[in-house]
Symmetry: C2
Subunit: 344 residues, 2 copies
Amino acid sequence: MRATVLHAAGDVRIENVPDATLIEPTDALVVISRAAICGSDLWPYKTPEQADIGRRLGHEAVGVVEAIGAEVRTAKVGDLVVMPWAYSDGKCEFCHQGLQTSCVQGGVFGTDEVDGAQAEAVRVPHADGTLVVLPVDEDDALLPSLLTLSDVMGTGHYAALAANVADGKRVAIVGDGAVGLCGVIAARRLGAEQIIILGRHPDRTALARELGATDVVSERGEEAVERVRGLTDGFGVHSVLECVGLTDSMRTAIGIARPGGAVGRVGWPQYEIMPASQPAFFDNVTVSGGPAPIRAYIEELLPDVLQGRIEPGRVFDRIARLDDVPDGYRAMNDREAIKVMVRP
Amino acid sequence: MRATVLHAAGDVRIENVPDATLIEPTDALVVISRAAICGSDLWPYKTPEQADIGRRLGHEAVGVVEAIGAEVRTAKVGDLVVMPWAYSDGKCEFCHQGLQTSCVQGGVFGTDEVDGAQAEAVRVPHADGTLVVLPVDEDDALLPSLLTLSDVMGTGHYAALAANVADGKRVAIVGDGAVGLCGVIAARRLGAEQIIILGRHPDRTALARELGATDVVSERGEEAVERVRGLTDGFGVHSVLECVGLTDSMRTAIGIARPGGAVGRVGWPQYEIMPASQPAFFDNVTVSGGPAPIRAYIEELLPDVLQGRIEPGRVFDRIARLDDVPDGYRAMNDREAIKVMVRP
């Protein structure tokens, strides 16, 4: 079969690799209907560590079950399923509390643990704990939105929960990438009264407005903090969704949080130490978040996608066949595309 | 009247100062029955900034109302009252949401804003929003415990809330000072199943055990993390109360938190940047806390003190008359005393 392999900085290739197969009796083999390129794929793409070289990338997918191990009970051959970016056994203490990303038997697709999903097929460990069967066909028009349940929509939702978004709150989203845009959808869905997006890409912030953003702030740093305060009676917002992961974006996130507010951070942190720790303390700002346990949210978000109440699939602005995946990475890295959907 | 004045590092003196008086119609004048020396008083005591010199220190007190301004409605002359470390108007958005420390008209005793309470009397701004009338006499045996409602008991309680302490949870408290000991009381009161105190002073950890701690960890750094994990099925605790405020203690606090857990920090942070930000992120550990809005908790904690269900007054192990306050500072700074009660 063919799959995406990372060779070097800026160099991903589509190669022939051994066919994906069942290994454990709890595995499922899934033929990919749609996969995606994630903003987090760009970190190894731009600056691969030694361990990243040779990796088979991709951790978001919707596909059809081709085969199941002897112990799999939930998914049947022929089912259309969505696959979270992290697999999990569904049985451990952490799975039970909805933190499947800390599953004691869990792991992440596109790492040493298990191969990636930007491919013709993928082996899914712990299929019963991981996969969710979708009640539609492979050619359904909702497939792009359903695909976002494997990562970005769930991640935006988790950021909103971590930031305590609730009815009537003032909310800001730092970052206008796909996760930030899904954060706008999540904030609106949870009843936010004001939704400010901080971003500098006119096409993305325009989409953010269509998805529910009430205000756009294109400034950065202290100027951004001043703008947001000006929009929020001087005090800042109750909830900040930090969807970037850089020191400056985190500093801004804390700076625009209202006393007693919360920052839900889902941007993969490129900083080892957290800035603005003292302002966060003295304003009683909670910092929460982490890798989003999106498996916990698929059942909750699914009806809203199926009934068209949310349209997270709009974050995809480009479709690539497998051969075009390398150019898809380039396009996302160059900010030419918001998010690329892969159709093997 | 006489009051405590900071002169230089390690040099506080009791001096004659102008009598405290009413200034605003919302003020109350309170004659101090009991005040206290706080761990946070030791920071300006040890390393005063220029602005600290000449300050009249003290922000914890129980006393009798001597006079009230024309607009004061809650407290009457002769009432015994407890005074939170921060005053607040009780009317603004932040007061209404229980974050009185961010009151738009608020401030802190013992600063430029208003004089301190280690004195014969103190002016209390915004008396209606600040003071709580106590239903006992000035000579009541419960006075030490009631005095802790002005800061340390409320601060331990806030740390526990910020760390999401709840029934059946595993909890750790970093720091065996008065706030840490009150954190033990708070964790027990909120139903924690396991309460681990991290501290190195045998007298304090012994008291912690009497107050409800189930385990004592005297190691530090990585060794402490290993010990706590060994006591908690390998994963760490659900809730950590960080009651120190140093970089190392914060790093330990994050290190012993279970995936999905929370750190409630109330130790005045001496670090500008937060360590272990990436571990906190990757384990989905929430970091919350700040200056404790203890005014929000007095009514809730008061019945438990009055009925003897909690005895936070046990953190006081020394009583000083005003003249002995300088030696009280020395004793606390030398770790000879846990916490000094002042009886003018």
